[in-house]
């Protein structure tokens, strides 16, 4: 489904942000990408939907090479790639429903977008998704009136509106408190399975990666240093990803909520 080969991104002189990165994803479910700040996690996701232009390498989505696409062809690929953002990136002054329907902008005409006359099946889908994330009673509320967790649920619904083949989630819980983070990760996992969509999720919280992902990819300095199931994330592996000095086994990597298993990192 998604096949990345030797993907490299160089922003300027110095160390590449991403270097000869390989990854193939075929099944639905969550794939967590973990690594320290500046490891290239965001760059990787933004190369996949070409918000960032890769320097070299190849990205194939369902057998279509997307690194060279332009104009309408690029937009057609983008509309099948959902994205969820760390700061939600909603349109504050529009309603919840308008924000969710904006996921269909790649499909509807400019006139339909302007007059908000979306096809009935889009509206049905939007209602279904909003009910699914528990926000159906908020359809006409402005997005800036929502709490952080509610805003991210709108973000999730918007991504799923695109009828995506894959979803990219860039630190979806980094702006949220631990309890809301768990709720959002739960929604991502359930919806990923319900719609059979693979989700590529950047996380800085190892505990969340362990609990929700099917597979974990470790990035360090733009290179892949780990790729395996969450059970294989041993102390040594985490040292390889984060380096020993930066890590505080008591606090940083454990979930600060009582619901998290405190033995996670130690074991």
């Amino acid at each position: 489904m998604l096949k990345i080969t030797k993907l490299t991104k160089i922003y300027g002189p110095g160390r590449p942000a991403l270097y000869e990165f390989d990854l193939a994803i075929d099944e639905p479910g969550l794939t967590a990408i973990i690594g320290p700040s500046g490891a290239g996690k965001s760059t990787l996701l933004r190369c996949i939907n070409r918000l960032v232009e890769p320097t070299s390498g190849s990205i194939e989505l369902d057998g279509v090479e997307i690194t060279k696409l332009k104009g309408a062809a690029l937009r057609d690929v983008r509309r099948r790639i959902g994205m969820i953002f760390q700061s939600f990136n909603l349109i504050d002054r529009l309603t919840v429903m308008e924000n969710v329907l904006s996921g269909r902008l790649g499909y509807v005409s400019f006139w339909q977008a302007l007059t908000r006359r979306f096809p009935q099946e889009d509206i049905d889908r939007a209602y279904y998704l909003l009910e699914r994330v528990g926000l159906a009673h908020y359809v006409n509320k402005r997005a800036d009136a929502l709490s952080g967790g509610e805003r991210q649920r709108v973000g999730v619904a918007r991504a799923l509106m695109q009828d995506p083949k894959i979803i990219l989630a860039d630190e979806p819980t980094a702006s949220l408190d631990p309890k809301t983070s768990i709720q959002i990760m739960g929604f991502l996992k359930e919806l990923s399975e319900e719609f059979s969509i693979p989700v590529l999720v950047n996380l800085h919280n190892v505990e969340l990666a362990r609990r929700y992902s099917r597979r974990v990819v470790g990035l360090q300095g733009g290179r892949k240093v780990f790729d395996g199931n969450p059970g294989a994330l041993t102390e040594d592996v985490l040292d390889a990803i984060y380096g020993t000095a930066d890590r505080d086994p008591e606090g940083v990597l454990t979930l600060e909520s009582s619901t998290a298993a405190p033995s996670g990192v130690a074991g």
Binding site: R75, R78, I81, I91, D92, R93
Partner: protein, 279 residues
């Protein structure tokens, strides 16, 4: 505290504690420099006064003239009020039509002149040029130009105000566009939306409050601008003010001036209220 300081710093403290502190905001050289700068400014002002041809007796008897003028204006001749009000309505209408026309022309220019929405760098320069050019020409100068094209009347006045307003509206709206939060733009781009749809959903909602506030503000300014258009024959209340002054009908002129003041105050109140509502 004091003993600590003495103990720690040894011999140095002796001179410090004995000498009185000396502090000056400016050094001697700085004071000389400041004096010369003030002197130069004073020279420039006095040179201008000397060069300008002022007939001083007329300036000195101004207080008497002002008193005299008030006497000529009093009592105001309220019989002209219906005609004045009709003309005022025309003035306000000129401002409304001109503002509407100007918005239609300014919005495309604003999008072209904002760095984040311009289709091409060449168009960006062109947009900036339009904004600067329309703004740097005064309304009265535009009016003279359009009176020459359309002849005297309302059309020339409307065009004059509309053109002068493009630069004002366009510049402020373009600034609003450039200050937009880029994150919704990123999100809309990621959905596969075209450039036009990205602008429609990610940028337009963000600039709408600025757009309304700036338009109402300009309408308010345009009411004031349109009161003087008549002086060059471009319609509105200025026309009858001009003829009242020409015929030395000071009691009528008084009514006109009071009416203009009233309308400008009303416009300002309305505009302030509207702007509070949208922001």
């Amino acid at each position: 505290m004091k003993t600590d300081m003495l103990a720690n710093t040894g011999t140095m403290t002796k001179t410090h504690t004995l000498a009185t502190y000396h502090w000056e905001r400016y050094t001697f050289a700085q004071r000389i420099g400041r004096f010369l700068a003030f002197l130069a400014a004073a020279l420039v002002v006095s040179w201008a006064l000397v060069r300008v041809d002022i007939y001083w007796p007329w300036a000195w008897d101004a207080p008497a003239q002002i008193l005299d003028q008030f006497q000529r204006m009093y009592p105001p001749d309220w019989s002209v009020l219906p005609r004045v009000l009709e003309s005022l309505l025309e003035t306000v209408n000129i401002a409304i039509i001109a503002t509407a026309l100007s918005v239609v022309m300014a919005v495309p220019v604003a999008f072209v002149s904002a760095r984040n929405t311009t289709p091409h760098p060449v168009l960006w320069w062109l947009g900036r040029l339009i904004l600067v050019a329309t703004r740097s020409v005064n309304t009265i100068v535009w009016a003279l130009l359009f009176v020459a094209i359309f002849g005297p009347g309302v059309v020339a006045g409307i065009c004059a105000i509309a053109f002068r307003s493009i630069g004002f509206l366009g510049k402020l709206i373009a600034e609003g566009i450039e200050e937009c939060d880029p994150r919704p733009v990123e999100a809309m781009t990621a959905t596969g939306a075209s450039r036009a749809k990205v602008i429609l959903y990610a940028i337009v909602p963000q600039i709408l409050p600025t757009f309304y506030a700036v338009t109402v503000l300009r309408w308010d300014i345009n009411i004031r601008e349109s009161t003087v258009l008549g002086l060059v024959g471009a319609g509105g209340i200025g026309m009858i003010l001009s003829s009242a002054v020409d015929f030395l009908a000071w009691q009528q002129a008084a009514v006109i001036l009071i009416s203009i003041l009233g309308v400008v105050v009303l416009g300002e109140l309305l505009s302030a209220w509207l702007r509070r509502r949208v922001l």
